[in-house]
Symmetry: none
Subunit: 336 residues, 2 copies
DNA sequence: AGGATACCTGAATGAGTATTCAACACTGGT
DNA sequence: ACCAGTGTTGAATACTCATTCAGGTATCCT
């Protein structure tokens, strides 16, 4: 039988006779519109229940029954799926920032709120959460979370030391502390600077049991909450006393670094950028980080776009929470 | 006595927050469009299976997920042919509404689904589609359409301004937007009210390039998707803030008008009814409208019967999508 | 405050549905 | 006639999903 390409014929769809179509529609109506159960329909029409099931399946296949999902305004399901698909993520949350201008303050709040909701709905207990620190986005997230009556996580572990002055070290600690309180988890702090003055200094510090004990827990984390760093100047970093010296930053840029997670830097393809800095970082190492089952990246703003894209390309994240603008850009990126 | 309850659920919020809507939509898409099983979804989103089940139920209740049973073409072939013959139409699609009572909700869905199928099978690419707005029937149509993988139309153009409050203007815009997304076409909006407050006001508005540029495209449309207005009170129109003032309506009735397409009114013979209103309408004009090669009227319900019959008599339409009740009446009408 | 109500949750479970499987019926070819 | 091949059927069953239930929390009302 020569197969016809043109499908503009008058009667009978898909090689099904009109009388069968009648039966199909009848059954479909009974089931979907009148809410009858299959055995009921079977009895009434004197056919077997499996037959009803098959008819319904066929009706769906032929398009007689169609189910549509309508995306409500202000929700960006397609966008989220597109990004998930492109970069192989488990989940993407797009915060609707409305028409916020470059003044990132409201975007920050929106991302924080979205991330907070994400955490509240997906933290069900038993997680050991790592949290990278001193990120204003993470701060916004924690600020937006509501305290849970009963524990929804076991541990909250600080995966990177405090950075800069002792003031911002407290800052870092407070973030972990707040999250621990909100989730009812035990907080585990890393009482150390994030960046030792030299690799030798780092060696000395990691022999301290207070520090090595904490770092030993990194391997058993089930989740990591990570801010993304970009190598653009960030207001908070600046204010907190130059986390990374300008010279270091320049060196990293020369090596092609565009961003970092927990001070582990990567280039625009998401490839690790090794540098002298690595030997001075007191925090989770790259391999351990990448072995965490659920890494949640929370970041937005066009300033961080390059870093976000790189992190996705490199497969650093499993879940991304970001804003609408960034999401729109990501959705049109070529796949990694 | 309007038995229809809140039909203006465009904000789609039944006391549900946006973040919840987001989750609902996401789950709904995973289940219905990607065919994932509930446990799978639960695992990926870190929620429990019962929760997925409940979310899906809620999504259905809120109308985010809707299931329709359509009558396959050809089941009412004789009826369709009869109407085509009598009124010289190119195509007629009769939606079987089952035994639905005056409560027009299910009839609306059936017509919408039938129209959706018609569009899906006859849009093959290259069309420039005009769409009249704020019609609940058109809304139902767009809702029932399934996204096509590749573009099947070039443009979707809004041929009449928004009507009523700013809320329902968005309504109008979204209709065009959704259709554009579904067909992969470029959306062109008419950023204006459908009815200016005076003919002078209209003159001012049409000098705006944002508006005149859009209106300039009307001449090259290859297809028009039109709802039919009747001069009976329509629930949607009423709720959306009295599109047409009562006084205007009375005047039109006195002139013999029984219905309209894109606010161009006609009497029971389908003859144009000129009135002062014409000078205030921001939308496609009668001549341009009637020169469009394929005008598809989508309307049903006995409330609109007179208007539908008049439109057919006047030759306003090339294609009609309607319900079984109206079709039966039309089939026994004397030819125009 | 206290207490009652309404609500939400996940584990367990029962309801409802899809699929397997063996039997059977129909083709068309030898 | 006979027999692959193909398709259809219903009984049994494996599967998926919706609901119950118990335990808990917010909120309102006294």
């Amino acid at each position: 039988m020569p197969s016809e390409r043109g499908d503009l014929r008058e009667p009978a769809i898909g090689g099904v006779s009109t009388s069968q179509l009648r039966l199909l529609t009848k059954v479909a109506r009974m089931y979907h519109e009148h809410g009858m159960r299959q055995p009921q329909i079977a009895e009434q029409l004197h056919i077997s229940q499996p037959r009803v099931s098959r008819l319904l399946k066929q009706a769906t296949a032929l398009g007689i029954v169609r189910t549509t999902v309508i995306t409500p305004a202000g929700v960006h399901a397609e966008l989220e799926e597109e990004i998930e698909r492109r970069f192989g993520l488990r989940d993407v949350v797009v915060a609707d920032t409305g028409h916020s201008s470059p003044g990132e303050q409201s975007a920050l709040k929106a991302i924080g709120a979205a991330a907070a909701v994400y955490l509240e709905t997906t933290l069900t207990g038993g997680d050991r959460i790592g949290i990278s620190s001193w990120s204003s986005t993470l701060l916004a997230t924690v600020d937006a979370m509501r305290p849970r009556p009963n524990p929804v996580a076991d541990q909250v572990v600080q995966v990177i030391g405090g950075v800069g002055s002792s003031t911002s070290q407290i800052y870092a600690t407070r973030l972990a502390d707040r999250l621990a309180i909100l989730t009812g988890a035990k907080a585990i702090f890393l009482p150390a600077p994030g960046l030792a003055t030299s690799s030798a200094a780092r060696e000395v510090l990691v022999t301290d049991p207070h520090i090595s004990d904490v770092m030993a827990t990194y391997g058993s984390l089930t989740m990591l909450l990570a801010g993304l760093g970009s190598l653009e100047p960030s207001p908070l970093l600046m204010e907190s006393g130059n986390a990374i010296a300008d010279t270091d930053q320049d060196a990293l840029r020369k090596l092609g670094a565009v961003g970092d997670i927990c001070l582990r830097f990567f280039d625009e393809h998401g490839e690790v950028v090794k540098s002298a800095l690595d030997e001075r970082v007191l925090g989770i190492d790259t391999d351990t980080l990448r072995s965490i089952p659920r890494v949640v990246g929370i970041a937005g703003g066009t300033r961080k776009y390059t870093a976000i894209r790189a992190a996705l390309r490199g497969g650093w994240l499993d879940v991304l929470v970001t804003d609408l603008d960034v999401a729109r850009c990501l959705a049109v990126e070529p796949a990694p």
